[in-house]
Subunit: 367 residues, 2 copies
Amino acid sequence: MFGITPSARLRPSPYYEATVAEGVRSFTTYNQMLMPTGYGHPDQEYWRLMNGVSQWDVAVERQVQIDGPDAAELVRILSPRDLRKQVVGQGKYVPMCNHAGVLINDPILLKLSENKFWFSIADSNIWFWAQAIAAERGLRVQVSEPDVSPLALQGPRAVEVVEALFGDWVRQLRYFWFRETELQGIPVVLARSGWSKQGGYEIYLMDGSRGTELWNLVREAGRRWDIGPGNPNLCERIESGLLSYGGDTDGTTNPFEVRLGSYVDLGVADDVIGIAALRQIKAQGVARRQLGVVMEGAAPTQPSFHWHPIHRDGRRVGHLTNGVWSYRLTRNIGFGLVSSECEAGDAVSVHQAGKVIDAQLVELPFL
Amino acid sequence: MFGITPSARLRPSPYYEATVAEGVRSFTTYNQMLMPTGYGHPDQEYWRLMNGVSQWDVAVERQVQIDGPDAAELVRILSPRDLRKQVVGQGKYVPMCNHAGVLINDPILLKLSENKFWFSIADSNIWFWAQAIAAERGLRVQVSEPDVSPLALQGPRAVEVVEALFGDWVRQLRYFWFRETELQGIPVVLARSGWSKQGGYEIYLMDGSRGTELWNLVREAGRRWDIGPGNPNLCERIESGLLSYGGDTDGTTNPFEVRLGSYVDLGVADDVIGIAALRQIKAQGVARRQLGVVMEGAAPTQPSFHWHPIHRDGRRVGHLTNGVWSYRLTRNIGFGLVSSECEAGDAVSVHQAGKVIDAQLVELPFL
């Protein structure tokens, strides 16, 4: 693995010192910040997520705060999803598009009050986007990056750790709902959410100077359930069919291509950004679709910076956008972004690092 | 140094394979792409830039292409600099601001024709920004990321290598001017530019499939002048006073704070984004300014993900935004973003990793 050179362009997380103390070995960058990607024991980190509880520094899930009298109006214009029933304390997954219907992020939108929202974003600059739209439409809002940094607890035992920390009300919290609260005086938002399908919570720290303190409080509370450090897990997220914006999408991907069509409401008002284009795409049908890829061979594949061509009947029909060794399927699997003419069951080949690997397309999720 | 985990969110450069063959050891990320940051011989890489010629993969300097009948109009609206005298074939350095006058990038603007421009950008998402403004103002333009990837030759011998490759016309090319041409059939733009003060050129490759071929052509031509691999050099750029957007700036920095006031023309039209705010800032005066920092001590400082507090008279007055061992000054130096009340000559202290280092503020550039 290549080294990552320190630079002030790449901001550390409030949990940086804590993750270094935990023995972090590697990082990725995301929203121009560092995110831990491994602590040296990948098998153990995977099975801890599946069977126990894993503690993740996901401060890179930054918040784009929209605040002010026109906040709800701006949020409505930015979201091709009907938000009329969203209430304070509820989060919603929102595929965000540009005017051409191209996916530019897939945040969770948290409604903190009638006049204050957070887009908890994937890896692209929605501050600039939202500022531009707000200013050009003359809306009375502030678009800012508040001092808010999520820490995730994921896995089947997460609920017990969170209950020990916050009380038994956390069991009643519904998926994607949240509550502002505190932990030994540390201001946080507790949400039932997280980038895995193993269940869990995200604690949104609202005071970056207390990152190590929060990390250690969670660590201590989790000791009974053998908590340990981890991170958004490539294997689990692929097995579970979770999309990575920017990894599984490119500069022309629309929501319908990547299984997000159910989060788009074509009946929203005409001034919602991208909705006219999305209606047209829906009417015409998409050129590409996302399917699972199951590869032959018993040698675990390595993560890659590249997409790899997928061929069917001797012709390129798309790309493998990610690939990983599945601990549960004991096969290499990944996502294909392929021509719409492809179907689950098709025999294909993946062209990767000079090798041709036989594979089959399957429906997602894998598990 | 921590490892960087491969991910398709972080795109490789067309020169990736060539730089791996050269022995690249470490990377940073920039515009969600990988940029080499070292080949294992930092002293040698620095002195090669100062005395010879260094070959850099700077494909991360992406182009935001503005193309169409209203291209010049959009470019004018995005630029708080008077561009009326810019002609085809000329580049201009343009501090780009949001509506509040905050710096959001500092690209070089290349005018390719009356209806086609490239913003050759620093590390922030100007595609989203330009798309939002264009769509909201109803301008007839395409905003895209073309297949264009600069390779830089920097250092006093760069001119000889570029002459050997392209012919003696390159000596007449003025600073920041460029010409579309080709090299053994590879389409390129040759510009006299680069992120150092040691002189040189940037070859904008316009066919990403030919990165290795171009890299090797340049390498062969440079052999006579002992060319070798390098990258934008932290030491040289700090000695020379070059700004790093995102590293030396934060979410409230305006151009006047960081010595870019001479690139802002307050007389441009009122519909230029940010100009009203910039006029107001100029009239009121800035709260911060950028000065050089010279530190005591003979132990070379290490690059950092953090800004470090600067104190004067026992009170925090700003931050050291970067720091490096200067080979020529044989001292640790860096940039301070400090209160406007600070002046060159002031004695200060830098608080870094639990240590307090005596230092002095000086004018920039250092050399």
